[in-house]
Symmetry: none
Amino acid sequence: MSGATAMELPLDQILRGECVEVMRMLPSGSVDCIFADPPYNLQLRGELRRPDDTVVDGVDDDWDKFSDLAAYDRFTRDWLSEARRLLRKDGTIWVIGSYHNIFRIGAILQDLGFWILNDIVWRKSNPMPNFRGRRFTNAHETMIWAARGQDSRYRFNYQAMKALNDDVQMRSDWYLPLCTGGERLRNGHGLKLHPTQKPESLLHRVLVSSTAADDVVLDPFAGTGTTAAMAKRLRRRFIGIERHPDYAEAAIGRVRRETPLPHDAVATTPMKREAPRVPFGSLVERNFIAPGSIVCDKSRRLFATVSPDGTLICGAKRGSIHKLGAMLTNAPSCNGWTFWHVDRDGELVPLDALRAESQAQESTENVAAAQPEGQEMTDISDLPNERSAIAG
Amino acid sequence: MSGATAMELPLDQILRGECVEVMRMLPSGSVDCIFADPPYNLQLRGELRRPDDTVVDGVDDDWDKFSDLAAYDRFTRDWLSEARRLLRKDGTIWVIGSYHNIFRIGAILQDLGFWILNDIVWRKSNPMPNFRGRRFTNAHETMIWAARGQDSRYRFNYQAMKALNDDVQMRSDWYLPLCTGGERLRNGHGLKLHPTQKPESLLHRVLVSSTAADDVVLDPFAGTGTTAAMAKRLRRRFIGIERHPDYAEAAIGRVRRETPLPHDAVATTPMKREAPRVPFGSLVERNFIAPGSIVCDKSRRLFATVSPDGTLICGAKRGSIHKLGAMLTNAPSCNGWTFWHVDRDGELVPLDALRAESQAQESTENVAAAQPEGQEMTDISDLPNERSAIAG
DNA sequence: AGGCGAATTGAATCGACTG
DNA sequence: CCAGTCGATTCAATTCGCC
């Protein structure tokens, strides 16, 4: 997914500066995925900052409350607009927040033309209790996952997510612990360096689900660099933006200490969509299934004959494995690979299994001929050594 | 909480009409709690088929159609403004939605001056899968719980919620099944009467958490009357508004068939009490054993009444199934699961058997909500606001 | 009656590619 | 942009039907 303009990007760096200002310097359509953990200043009286870093007066009359919300909305619209400009057409964005800010973010995402794909609930295994017994324990945060637009052909590594979840579809509620222990960055006094450092497991799932190796991942509020560190570990490229010098410095050191996983370790379960296409005719051609063979459906009620050109014949009807299956069942469509079977020693084997066998044989035949499809082996063990410069 | 104006209200009725128009006729500040399940503004592009080629019966009703986001926002602002006028100063509102609409609703709630107390995630035990493998399984819906304003002294039945949840604070993520089976209203052809009927267990928890007996509960989108029916069962007063004649008629019949629980059965746990050590409350909530049910010991000499929060009542004594068993037998301890029985067709069945039946229905995953070690509920009432719960 | 397997169903923004 | 074709894709809970 990463392409020409990528070389103009300050890749694999933590940039110090205001996120909107820094984003304005980056080229449009250059980023595959964005993960953002913006400040949620609502309800924190006196601490709300405008985009220009001035503090909003915290008074509790209605007018001022409105100005708080409006200021936060302006801030949100500013950085989300830039984010959308930087995102490739088929890229996706993740934004995490709590009930204080996530509703405003979600509404503005929609207003700007983003197309929400899921809202994901991070259920915390160890949340902080509600000390005063006045509310439910606030035990989750919400992430919004959205495509740049309604017609984006976004990436979702369905099989990888399914494999990660005991071979059932990954749900929209994720149960993960808070960032604690050795993972939590601390200052000289043993105090946590950042108040809301996100757990690596969360970013792991985010990146594995919606990015590919070598994709460019942007984090406009990089904090202590969890996104960047996980991107490096998973062999994605990253750009982090962080305003606070202490956080930026900590993030740079953290990323430097991170080692990319071996190439084969970051290859996730492939999606069938990405496998090279094998037409049924080639199976006939290569005699995995002989012309004149009889195929049938699972219940042995429908039968058809394989013709030499890879079509099936049933009485007067003739068509591709898909088309004939659809015709005979009066369905609008049909996957002939799984619909039709051959009888092998009394047992029905789907055509899909024959295809897999043919592909396995082909790959062993071609083992000497190198490159897999579309994965040019430019030396990417070269995460350009840590020039994680401080800009801005 | 209910007071003088309540008598002017059309109490315990389902009113047929447009929700905003009907609400305009009701007096200000007359309602203790609102539960609203507004249209979600789904934007479905075509029919959806399962992998087996059957068609999903989705929501295609006119009431869910809006021309654009702005129209949905206007609609939302209109009914929420009226809702706020009707709400008492210390009242609270619940609104349920999905990612299609909940962000707009949350933002408008805040704009209108409501004060969000929690966002609650309803995790569905049996959601519809994602058939095309293009997204995460959409396995939850979101409820926003908000007070009329920042300074409301709202009701939260903390101890009742804790009792209902294994003597641990109730979290913001609730694991409950969809409305199916006998609870689901059907038309003459056995088809679901309403596409989005909510489960009674959801309303049970909502009403027990945030209302008291005799409180006035308003549902502006009453549908098939789940809110009204549960309000009647729990001896709250209700006003339902429903525009569709078929739904309104069904709701009226449903409420008529509903019987209020005995007075002592709806009195939830007072503050500061001994809590049960087992999640007996979840059996009550899911109606495996109804509040007001009588349980007895094996020899039918001791009897007790089940209350909605999962405690037992015997005369002036009240406690968990274990504690009350111990009290009544003067024993130091007692396993309430095997001590107490329900009479099922003349045969005594131990609560343990009911628990086994319920567990057969519920995933074990739900148990994960336990209090972490070392995070005791000491009375640290001096932590600022509720924002303490956002670390992570 | 009971047990087992098949069938049904649920608030869903649910293709990709070629010509 | 449209039409045609290829072909990837489902989980939990309940209810029905058969033996």
